[in-house]
């Protein structure tokens, strides 16, 4: 079997990729996708450490993270749709007004 450290490194790499996506992309949908990558990286850490400590708590937290991710995706995508209706663009830089 592979040691825990490998999983942690992989998780760190995935998290970094997700962060880069949030900062670099100019498309709200891709930004949301990048957030999903970050959440998954964290999930991997939870499951790996849970297995290392021999408890099911890691998997249970993962379960909760998934529900939160589902809620986040639903609200986030609803926001994206309503923003797109107003501005006809998905570029986050276009939404700088505090009021319209």
């Amino acid at each position: 079997m592979v040691p825990l450290n490998y999983y942690l490194v992989l998780s760190g790499v995935l998290f970094a990729i997700g962060t880069a996506g949030v900062f670099l992309r100019r498309n709200l949908i891709t930004v949301l996708l990048s957030i999903e990558i970050m959440l998954n990286a964290v999930n991997l850490t939870f499951v790996a450490v849970g297995r290392y400590l021999g408890t099911v708590d890691g998997q249970i937290i993962t379960f909760f993270v998934m529900t939160v991710a589902a809620a986040e995706a639903a609200v986030g995508l609803a926001l994206v749709i309503s923003l797109f209706r107003h501005r006809e663009t998905l570029n986050p830089d276009a939404f700088t007004a505090l009021k319209w």
Partner: protein, 171 residues
């Protein structure tokens, strides 16, 4: 065998995630992210967590990503706009270079820190491998974590209402 599987799944997850961020077409991004989630599910199986692996597929790949797919299809904006002219030096290529250096430094730091604590081998005794038991997860979820579980249901209700209110067309 396990080691080879780990490297294959890890490679798929990393490459797919990089491509998700690198893609211009959101439809392809979504499909690549599903691939990445599949690889992560494989890793969960390697970690004796088949239940989490399957929920990963059902919830992430089967529900959340379908939602993304729907929105991409609905909005139909295949291409991203070109980069705007840099407002300040930190937002241009110089800024990206500094960012790359910083993230590489962070990566080096993490690797250094993880190598200091030594390799953490997973315990192999049956008691530690029992984390794969669905019954154990269920019992723990509905006893020790019952409050969090109930709170989640409220969260989902709020999200549902929020999504309906936000996406509704104004009259």
């Amino acid at each position: 065998m396990d080691v080879i599987a780990f490297y294959i799944f890890a490679a798929i997850a990393v490459v797919a995630s990089v491509l998700v961020v690198g893609q211009k077409n959101p439809m392809h991004s979504v499909m690549l992210l599903i691939t990445s989630f599949g690889a992560l599910a494989g890793l969960y199986v390697l970690l004796d967590a088949p239940f989490t692996a399957v929920t990963q597929i059902i919830i992430y790949a089967g529900a959340i990503m379908v939602l993304f797919l729907f929105v991409v299809m609905l909005l139909n904006v295949p291409r991203e706009e070109p980069a705007p002219p840099a407002v300040s030096a930190l937002l241009g290529p110089t800024g990206i270079r500094i960012g790359v250096i910083l993230s590489l430094l962070l990566g080096a730091e993490i690797v250094w820190a993880l190598s200091r604590i030594g390799l953490g081998w997973f315990p192999q005794d049956p008691a530690a491998a029992s984390v794969s038991s669905v019954a154990l997860i269920g019992a723990s979820l509905f006893t020790r974590h019952a409050f969090a579980f109930e709170a989640t249901s409220v969260l989902i209700l709020v999200a549902m209402i929020g999504a309906v209110v936000l996406a509704r067309r104004e009259h």
